[in-house]
């Protein structure tokens, strides 16, 4: 699904990614953990094609395609979804319209006809029920006036409607209470499938109590310092990151 080789990137004059290597096969859930400022969100933005994040070396293959040559919208249409850590508010653009436009853009890319309004609303209502969201959110501006938790639910709702091949979820658990975390985790788990992959960027083990990862990677100083199974997250929870960083320095 995703093959990252020796990826280097910078933001302005600051080198942030310093040789990332990561392989995410189909059907797997990978968690990327790491201390603040380690480059986790930068990796997510680079993969999604955010302007201002300059790739200075390396390669990324997404479903066999060179991801780095694609425009942000092409990446999304090809099945890459970024769940934002801080979803932006867009007053004046209906949530429901964005959902429909995004879904139709993906369908068009796959050579499918546009979804009709009735069918679309049926689909969205089903997903909203799963995310325990009130239908009133549909007619509001995108994330406009939403609480932090509502924004995160809305991100997962979009993901469920779009059914991406690869979901990059950047700190989807931040700002969520326990109940909301369970709902969001349930939504993410719904997406698990043999032909999809999920990359979770998180600080905390607690999300991984609800979404069991196949692999856990520690990203620090712009590189993957260690990879392991779910037990690595438990070890990080118990010991923090210092022992890994100390080993790296030594």
């Amino acid at each position: 699904m995703l093959e990252i080789k020796d990826l280097h990137a910078r933001v302005g004059d600051r080198k942030v990614l310093d040789g990332i290597n990561l392989h995410v096969p189909n059907g797997e859930v990978h968690a990327i953990m790491g201390p603040n400022g380690s480059g986790k969100s930068t990796l997510a933005y680079v993969l999604a094609g955010r302007p201002g994040y300059e790739v200075t070396g390396g390669s990324v293959l997404f479903r066999g395609q060179d991801l780095l040559t694609m425009a942000p919208e092409e990446r999304a249409q090809a099945g890459l979804f970024l769940g934002f850590q801080y979803p932006v508010e867009i007053p004046g653009v209906n949530n429901v319209y964005l959902l429909k436009a995004a879904l139709n853009a993906a369908r068009k890319h796959r050579g499918l006809p546009e979804v009709d309004a009735f069918e679309f609303l049926q689909l969205v209502r089903g997903k909203m029920k799963l995310m325990q969201m009130d239908e009133a959110f549909l007619s509001r501006g995108v994330n406009e006036g939403f609480s932090g938790g509502e924004k995160k639910r809305n991100e997962i709702l979009q993901m469920l409607v779009l059914e991406p091949s690869l979901a990059l979820l950047d700190e989807t658990d931040s700002g969520l209470d326990i109940d909301a975390l369970k709902v969001v985790a349930q939504g993410v788990n719904t997406l698990r499938a043999p032909d999809r992959a999920i990359v979770l960027v998180t600080h905390y083990q607690r999300l991984l109590d609800h979404i069991r990862p196949d692999r856990v990677h520690v990203l620090a100083r712009g590189r993957i310092l260690r990879s392991g199974g779910p037990e690595l997250a438990l070890e990080l929870e118990a010991r923090g990151y210092d022992w890994l960083l100390a080993g790296e320095t030594a």
Binding site: F84, I90, G92, N94, V96, Y97, K100, A101
Partner: protein, 392 residues
């Protein structure tokens, strides 16, 4: 006898700095004396097929300022066209340069459309002004005590046309006027207009306007809140493309106790277009307890586009609440990336954000059918955004 032709302003005059006045002395301001069959056909073609969903109760059509009964629809009680011969002309040149185009209208107008709503009565009306050559349409709106009017006023025109509209509005005690205005002459046309309004005690005047057509437009509005408790909402948007110029000057005089104004402007200048809005709020010593709120926002969407926003407050009394602000910026990069990250193409994402920028103005229309009319009218300018209506 026609009123004498006034001296027209220049860009050296205060309040006319950004007005599209170049070459106006060479324009042919004389209107046609009669409506020809060819003109009727051309107007019919311009009007197109108005959708029944957006149809307003009754419709009056003026072509180059002359009434066109063949294109009228419904029965509009209290609406009458009076030929210039029957009008009492002031006969005096206007002292204020801001009223020069109104004076020019009086000089050339062939007549006046009088929209009168008697005390306590209500009316819903659409007035369409079509410009084919040169017209000086004149509208006089007179609302009696607690009368109510919902007016949709549209301006269409062919590329070479010239229009100089004069609007005179009077609201009696407790009257209500929702005044929806859509200015969409074809690119290449020129449109000048002068609106003078007097708002009586406890009356409520709502102006919702979108300007998106013509090579050049200049709107001059002088509104006086004369009765205690008069309430004005002035929400307008202008979209400039190509080399268009849209310039507006709005002066609101708060001249009675506890009067209130809320003014919002949204301007989007793309390509090499220029947009200017000069909002002048006056609060006189006769207006204790007045409240004036003004928010002007501009969006430049072209490397050579220009926006000039000028909020002005002039207050002669202490007991007043007034706020004003103006901001000019570009499309928000975070919002843009968010939409792109959801698979929307660049053009659609741009359109959606522009739509969102002006949606606040259109949302103020009380009737969904009217909102649809505005959305339909803007669809060609904001491709992709048209479908942004609620699906729920």
């Amino acid at each position: 006898m026609a009123a004498p032709a006034p001296v027209l302003p220049t860009t050296r005059d205060e309040n006319w700095k950004h007005a599209p006045l170049r070459g106006i002395e060479r324009l042919r301001w004389a209107p046609p004396t009669a409506l020809t069959q060819e003109a009727e056909l051309a107007a019919t073609a311009l009007l197109g097929d108005d959708s029944p969903q957006g149809a307003i109760g009754a419709r009056i059509v003026l072509v180059d300022g002359l009434p066109c009964p063949e294109l009228a629809r419904g029965n509009a009680a209290g609406v009458a066209y009076r030929a210039a011969d029957s009008l009492k002309q002031p006969g005096e040149p206007t002292a204020s340069i801001d009223l020069a185009f109104a004076g020019l209208n009086r000089h050339h107008r062939q007549g006046e459309l009088l929209i009168r709503v008697p005390d306590g009565e209500t009316l819903e009306l659409e007035v369409v002004c079509v410009a084919l050559a040169c017209g000086h349409p004149a509208l006089r709106i007179d609302l009696g005590t607690r009368a109510s009017l919902r007016l949709l006023e549209r301006h269409l025109g062919v590329a070479s046309s010239l229009a100089n509209l004069s609007l005179s509005v009077g609201l009696g005690h407790g009257a209500r006027l929702e005044h929806a205005r859509l200015l969409q002459p074809a690119d290449g046309a020129r449109h000048f207009e002068t609106l003078q309004a007097a708002v009586g005690a406890d009356a409520n005047y709502r102006v919702i306007q979108v300007t998106s057509g013509a090579a050049a437009t200049r709107s001059t509005a002088l509104v006086s809140l004369e009765g205690a408790g008069a309430d004005l909402g002035w929400h307008t948007a202008a979209l400039g493309t190509g080399t268009q110029t849209h310039d507006a000057y709005v002066r609101v005089t708060h001249d009675a106790p506890a009067v209130r104004t809320e003014q919002g402007f949204r301007g989007i200048a793309a390509d090499r277009s220029r947009i200017a809005f000069n909002g002048h709020m006056q609060v006189t010593a006769r207006a204790p307890g007045a409240h004036s709120a003004q928010t002007l926002r501009g969006l430049t969407a072209g490397a050579a586009a220009e926006i000039d926003l000028r909020p002005q407050l002039e207050i002669d009394i202490d007991d007043v609440r007034a706020s004003h602000g103006a901001t000019i910026g570009k499309l928000d990069a975070d919002m843009l990336f968010y939409l792109l990250s959801r698979g929307l193409d660049q053009a659609t994402a741009d359109s959606l954000l522009k739509w969102a920028f002006i949606a606040d103005v259109i949302a103020r229309l009380s009737d969904p059918a009217w909102r649809s009319r505005f959305e339909d009218a803007l669809a060609p300018l904001l491709p992709g955004a048209h479908a942004a209506r609620s699906l729920t």
